[in-house]
Assembly symmetry: C2
Homo-oligomer: 106 residues x 2
DNA sequence: TCAATAGTTCAATATTCTTGAACAATGGGA
DNA sequence: TCCCATTGTTCAAGAATATTGAACTATTGA
């Protein structure tokens, strides 16, 4: 397995972050990581998605700089890079995650 | 020309807004619309893009609910749906547009 | 009516997304 | 140590979306 790529905090782009958050599954994953502690892919909160798709979504999140993935035994420990993101883009993550995404009704 | 589709405020989705903002050209367009008054496509701030590409980007912005496009004579008047967006997703647009997007250096 | 201007739509190519199948890495027995 | 169950990643093929030149539509003015 090639080592997983994590961008430096300064290399995180606004477009990349927005793109990573623009997918329902990835937004759900980030919400889960924000609420609770490190999670494995399987605990991401998207039980209906195939593993390969989940892996793809985690890669997008990782390469956008939102998530750090470290191996922990047989699974991965995924954590939100909250502090770095808040420093790089103050208020952005809070503004996105505070939105009520459940019902689209007016 | 078919009439252009604008979603109702209540039908605007967070994912759609984030996806619309996740493209550099579209983010630039929204920044320009936010700073100044209604603009035509040609005044969008992306002089190097072909017309068809610009039209595509405006369609994404329109169908995501970010921009309202009305015909004004031979051109279009594009306006940011700022009030509706602020009501639907409080603080979101401000948080995105306040980010410094120019230099990615740390 | 003819031409100029502003955008849209179409069509072809290119890039990205989705996902089953194969592969790799770790850890727990026997 | 050798299997093997568990977790993810990578690969590959088809689906979906993005880019853009060319053709088309709508509006205005001469």
């Amino acid at each position: 397995m090639r080592s997983l790529h994590h961008p430096a905090a300064g290399a995180i782009t606004l477009e990349g972050v927005l793109h990573a958050l623009s997918d329902p599954a990835r937004l759900q994953i980030v919400r889960n990581l924000d609420e609770s502690c490190p999670r494995t892919c399987g605990e991401a909160g998207c039980p209906s998605l195939p593993r390969s798709t989940l892996s793809h979504h985690f890669r997008i999140l990782r390469e956008a700089g939102l998530v750090r993935s470290e191996r922990d035994g047989v699974s991965m420990r995924n954590t939100l890079r909250r502090d770095e993101l808040d420093k790089r883009f103050p208020g952005l993550l809070a503004a996105v995650l505070s939105q009520d995404c459940g019902s689209e009704a007016d």
